[in-house]
């Protein structure tokens, strides 16, 4: 059996007194692709944010293990450095901070020793090529004035540059046109080919067409109500979520 990369045990979390996630158990092995599905408001994004360590949510009980280490109380940046990446549903805009300067700071922060500028620049160009992006894109302020598609491409850009162990993709395909979905899917496939693991949060299935899904979790009202293999995605497409309520 492959090594357990992410292991969530008996997780209860919410905002203040209000519980959102209840008794979540979820295990994702290295190299696997999991899908987290569920109706709007089920708590899917919350789970992604709690794994990343968002200060908005509190964990009242349970543990999150990553690579065998208990990260339940770890800081957000520590989790990132251990290899967790969250692609945001709504990436934040930072005026005045260019993509290039941002990526440089991030890579420098995550690299021991000096940053090899030429190699770094070459890598940026490569990824621009992979994602059909004009390198002028890197001169723009982070997410400022980006279209929906550009924002998601920028997230996938960071995913490919940072090469985390686990990528949590929160509605990465929502609101994208067909071409953008294709580009984003291509980026995700490359990440997977490099050995990356995926937890894909979605309520549609377009992005899954090009991927082999190892496991599907259905989240309703903050509880995992059904689990299965990739075939579960098709069941949901046919019967909706009502069958699990």
């Amino acid at each position: 059996m492959a090594a357990e990369l992410l292991k969530i045990k008996g997780l209860n979390a919410g905002i203040g007194e209000e519980g959102i996630l209840h008794d979540i158990d979820l295990t994702l092995n290295a190299g696997e692709t999991h899908v987290l599905m569920g109706p709007n408001g089920a708590g899917k994004s919350t789970l992604g944010n709690v794994i990343m360590g968002s200060p908005v949510y509190g964990v009242s009980s349970g543990t999150i293990l990553f690579d065998g280490e208990d990260i339940t109380k770890a800081r957000v940046d520590e989790r990132a450095k251990k290899g967790i990446f969250l692609s945001f549903q709504n990436p934040l805009e930072v005026p005045g901070l260019t993509m290039d300067a941002f990526l440089r700071s991030v890579v420098r922060e995550r690299t021991n020793g000096p940053l090899k500028i030429l190699k770094f620049k070459k890598r940026l160009e490569e990824i621009c090529g992979l994602l059909d992006l004009d390198p002028a894109f890197l001169e723009r302020d982070l997410n400022v004035g980006f279209s929906g598609g550009e924002k998601k491409k920028a997230e996938i850009f960071q995913l490919l540059l940072l090469e985390p162990k686990l990528a949590i993709l929160d509605e990465t395909d929502s609101g994208l046109d067909v071409d953008a979905v294709r580009t984003v899917s291509k980026g995700i496939s490359i990440f997977k080919e490099q050995g990356g693991s995926l937890l894909i949060i979605t309520h549609s299935t377009r992005i899954l067409d090009a991927l082999t899904v190892d496991r599907t979790h259905v989240l309703v009202n903050g509880r995992i109500v059904k689990e299965g293999g990739g075939e579960l995605v098709d069941d949901i497409n046919r019967g909706g979520y009502a069958q699990y309520a």
Binding site: M52, G53, V56, V76, D77, G96, L97, L162
Partner: protein
């Protein structure tokens, strides 16, 4: 951005300076060398300053007149409190005892830490803090000067200008734009001014590299009552940079400098300043520019440090079609009350002005943006745009906006936009999710906010300013 710091003027100075520091010792002055300090500013003291500086007679007269005006004016009462200044013993600010500056141990901890974090070598730290030997970077300075001299550009210290062949030019312009009766601290400046820079750019000259006053920050008395006089003649183009990111420490915590900029017909002057005063400083500086027909003045201003600041660079758009831009950022941290902004006075036809001002406050700091745009009746076709943004890093800090406009012609086009915001927790989480520690994430957001200013600075200064922001964000 460490790899950029290689080019910074701070690094290039080291070797020469450390060498000098080994040999350069200053005799400690004895207490009895000083006038008694338990009295106000007297004519005797002003005469002595004038004598020490070898003033021409007219300058002595000027100083004495300024002293009279000083005594007749009240301390301003419309801005942040300055009652921490001991006005009854103003002479202690004018003639600080050098003996008190002579010990590194007496330099406040926060200043020492800032030097440490900015990576400034010990010899220079001591010089900047005013406790080390005066360092003389005449050599470096001289090389810069040779380049510009070839074009007939004069760049020298005020004292030399005053006694040399530019005396008449100095006399014609000195404190004509900022008259001594402008306010009490302008009068004080007129009476006791010392040090500063003089620049004259003849018609048509273009100085490619920025002139930097940084090298002479530690000339005796500079950095307290220094006077900067820049005259850019018809069609000439100059960029002048003043200051550096290192905190300037002075035991006498009053700074009342004066900057006068004369921009000739179709001339262009860019005046950039990065100031980082020690946190006990009262910074009451007066800066003013006047533009002739078709002239352009650009102010780039980064204000850090000080306990209290009053700073409103003023542009007088006298000539038709003249243009002024002000781009500035102010950073107020714990215990700081910074009142900054800009003033634009439109006199000529089709003049235009543009203000882009940013302020950041944190840890209880108070930052007030105060501006005034005056469009006189004569200024038909004038355009003015004011854009000010404030960023509050936490909920205990305070930001105020006081924009005034006085428009006397209906043939003017005026726009104003003000925004006050806080750092978004979501944005901090977003940056942290990429691996940035919280303080660094916040600093990135603030640096981004400040980028309209840093973009306008030469690379090494921009890098220094970003380091400074990082440092301010890290300290409580």
């Amino acid at each position: 951005m460490p790899e950029m710091r290689k080019d910074s003027p701070i690094d290039t100075l080291n070797a020469a300076e450390e060498e000098r520091a080994l040999y350069d010792f200053k005799d400690e002055e004895r207490d009895e060398d000083f006038y008694k300090v338990d009295e106000g500013l007297t004519e005797d003291i002003v005469r002595q300053i004038s004598r020490e500086k070898n003033d021409p007679d007219w300058m002595l007269e000027f100083r004495l007149n300024a002293l009279k005006v000083y005594k007749s004016l009240e301390v301003p009462d419309w801005g942040p409190p300055i009652d921490g200044l001991d006005m009854d013993h103003i002479v202690t600010y004018v003639k600080p005892k050098t003996k008190m500056q002579a010990s590194w141990d007496e330099v406040p901890e926060d200043i020492k830490n800032a030097f440490e974090k900015l990576g400034i070598p010990q010899a220079e730290r001591e010089a900047l803090a005013g406790v080390g030997a005066q360092y003389d970077s005449e050599l470096v300075y001289h090389n810069v000067r040779k380049d510009v001299e070839a074009q007939g550009v004069v760049y020298t210290d005020m004292e030399s200008a005053l006694t040399g062949k530019y005396e008449d030019m100095v006399r014609e312009h000195f404190m004509k734009l900022v008259p001594v009766n402008d306010h009490k601290f302008a009068a004080l400046h007129g009476a006791v001014w010392s040090g500063g820079s003089f620049v004259y750019a003849p018609p048509g000259s273009k100085v490619e590299i920025p002139l930097q006053s940084y090298f002479r920050l530690n000339a005796p008395g500079a950095g307290q009552f220094e006077h900067t006089l820049i005259i850019v003649d018809e069609g000439a183009d100059v960029h002048f940079i003043e200051g550096c990111s290192a905190p300037k420490y002075n035991i006498a915590n009053l700074h009342a400098g004066c900057v006068e900029l004369f921009v000739g017909k179709n001339a262009h002057l860019r005046y950039s300043t990065i100031e980082n005063w020690s946190k006990n400083m009262y910074n009451l500086n007066t800066k003013r520019a006047i533009c002739e027909e078709g002239g352009t003045i650009e102010w780039i201003s980064g204000s850090f440090g000080s306990h209290v600041s009053y700073l409103y660079p003023t542009s007088v758009l006298k000539g038709d079609g003249s243009h002024a831009e002000f781009t500035g950022i102010t950073f107020a941290g714990r215990g700081q009350n910074l009142d900054t902004g800009a003033k634009m006075i439109h006199l000529g036809k089709n003049t235009s002005s543009f203000i882009d001002s940013k302020s950041v406050c944190k840890s209880g700091g108070i930052s007030t943006y105060r501006s005034s745009v005056e469009i006189r009746k004569s200024a038909e076709g004038a355009k003015a745009s004011v854009n000010c943004g404030s960023l509050m890093v936490d909920s205990i800090s305070r930001s105020d906006t006081v924009p005034a406009m006085d428009i006397r012609t209906d043939k003017a086009d005026v726009g104003h936009e003000a925004k006050i915001g806080r750092i978004s927790d979501d944005a901090v989480f977003y940056l942290m999710s990429r691996g940035m520690p919280e303080a660094a994430a916040r600093a990135m957001i603030v640096s981004g906010f400040a980028s309209p200013v840093s973009k306008e600075l030469p690379l090494e200064y921009a890098a220094e300013m970003n380091n400074l922001i990082k440092l301010e964000m890290e300290t409580g």
